[in-house]
């Protein structure tokens, strides 16, 4: 067993884990962050996407021990004071989900995308989400939601100035 300390959604967690434990299993089974889901388990589908030190990663393709000393943000850490993150609100408003299984990963990747590219074109949104699969094929509204959220996130930044 290896002792790790990971900051998960703003809370410092110290646990003994087996080195072979995947980050997604650590988040779900040890920390209880079941908002992050296991989809394909082959690093293709992106459902398990979280942020590691602010950058999107597939948490089924990272060992928990690799996150020792680092910051993880899951879908459960996006909202603040009961207010949905603009990306979560945009997914809600644009009906950007059908079964909802891909949604946690889609939203985490979409936040990363808009952080790196505040005004993405439709093409850039589609390319930026290429590591996230929606098996309901509900991509159209997902792309609409990301574009809407990019707009509201950029006007929030302008107001903050």
């Amino acid at each position: 067993m290896t002792r790790i300390t990971v900051n998960v959604d703003g809370v410092s967690c110290t646990d003994e884990v087996e080195p072979r434990m995947l980050l997604v299993h650590y988040l779900r089974e040890v920390v209880g962050k079941v908002g992050t889901v296991v989809g394909c388990d082959t690093s293709n589908c992106g459902a398990c996407t979280v942020h590691l030190d602010g950058r999107s990663v597939k948490s089924c393709n990272v060992l928990a021990v690799q996150a020792d000393g680092h910051d993880v943000t899951t879908i459960e850490g996006l909202s603040s004071n009961g207010e949905l993150h603009p990306m979560q609100a945009a997914f809600h408003e644009n009906h950007a989900l059908q079964c909802g299984y891909c949604t946690p990963g889609m939203i985490m990747q979409a936040v990363d995308l808009v952080t790196e590219n505040p005004n993405p074109s439709e093409e850039e949104i589609r390319v930026g989400l290429e590591g996230n699969l929606c098996r309901c094929t509900g991509y159209h509204n997902i792309v609409k939601a990301v574009a809407a959220a990019a707009g509201s996130m950029s006007s929030e930044r302008t107001e903050a100035r």
Partner: protein, 282 residues
């Protein structure tokens, strides 16, 4: 899918990493970004006794100006390579190829050095590194040595990096002002290259003064299309077809569900022409 149990060490210096490898012997695996290794461990295609994680060795990360070359630390993630100003200015071909690797999440974790040592012939880093005449810095118990890209790739998943050694840096001669393009052929987004061609050219008065062409997934290692490079000298945008027709000569591409060998030879010629054309700005 859960990997078989292993011991884990995460040294913070190169010396400690080499010592950990020496101690573990044959049963150790080096973990770089892990984007190929973790799927392999999860599917239990490999079950090492010990995993040596290079992720905490800061000295292996980053890109610096080495004068006549740029030096890329082996543990630099793909996403940093794509956006780096030095890479874009002096080795644009590498940035364009790396941008096509997998997806954004994987490019945040996967490393250039890890991909090179993993040496999957369908990977997108080998061909540009070969075409750009890179030099690899390899460190082992006996000290440091350098290996030219032409001698680096030995066979399927096999490189000049021996047991107990580590790739630490990739040195790429500056190709400032060269045009470049990476033409990757896949049937669906996010797929490994069926075939891809890396081309970079230096133009003089609208025709090619020098050309470098690397091929992805046309054999058990990345390959250099030297005959095409020679044939392209002096050519303009309108007469690329014949010079690129021989791109597959001397290659032994695989046949699989994505295409048989003849199909890949056909693709190599077509993609070479497209890559050179785009590299020329056409």
């Amino acid at each position: 899918m859960i990997p078989a149990a292993f011991d884990y060490v995460s040294p913070t210096s190169l010396d400690d990493a080499l010592a950990a490898l020496a101690e573990a012997g044959d049963d150790a695996k080096v973990l770089a970004g892990g984007q190929s290794l973790l799927p392999i461990l999860r599917m239990r295609l490999n079950a090492p006794e010990k995993v040596v994680d290079l992720g905490r060795i800061e000295a292996l990360r980053g890109i610096r100006d080495g004068g006549d070359h740029i030096a890329i630390g082996a543990m630099t993630p793909y996403s940093d390579v794509v956006t780096d100003a030095l890479v874009q200015e002096h080795a644009g071909l590498l940035a364009k190829a790396v941008e096509t690797v997998a997806d954004p999440q994987i490019r945040h974790r996967g490393t250039v050095g890890g991909a090179l040592v993993h040496a999957d012939p369908a990977g997108d880093v080998g061909a540009p590194v070969l075409a750009l005449d890179a030099t690899m810095v390899v460190v082992g118990p006996g000290g440091e040595r350098t290996v030219g890209a032409g001698e680096f790739f030995r066979d399927l998943f096999e490189t000049a990096v021996g047991d107990g050694e580590l790739l630490t840096e990739i040195r790429i001669p500056k190709h400032t002002g060269w045009g470049s393009a990476y033409e990757k052929f896949v049937r669906v987004s996010h797929q490994w290259s069926i075939v891809a061609v890396a081309a970079t050219v230096r133009l003089e008065g609208g025709s090619i003064a020098e050309a470098r062409v690397g091929l992805t997934n046309m054999g058990s290692t990345p390959l250099r299309a030297s005959a095409v490079e020679q044939a392209l000298v002096g050519k303009g945008l309108s007469d690329l077809e014949s010079a690129c027709a021989a791109a597959a000569d001397g290659t032994n591409p695989p046949s699989d569900l994505n295409g048989d060998a003849d199909y890949r030879r056909h693709l190599a010629a077509v993609l070479t022409r497209r890559a050179v054309q785009r590299a020329m700005g056409g």
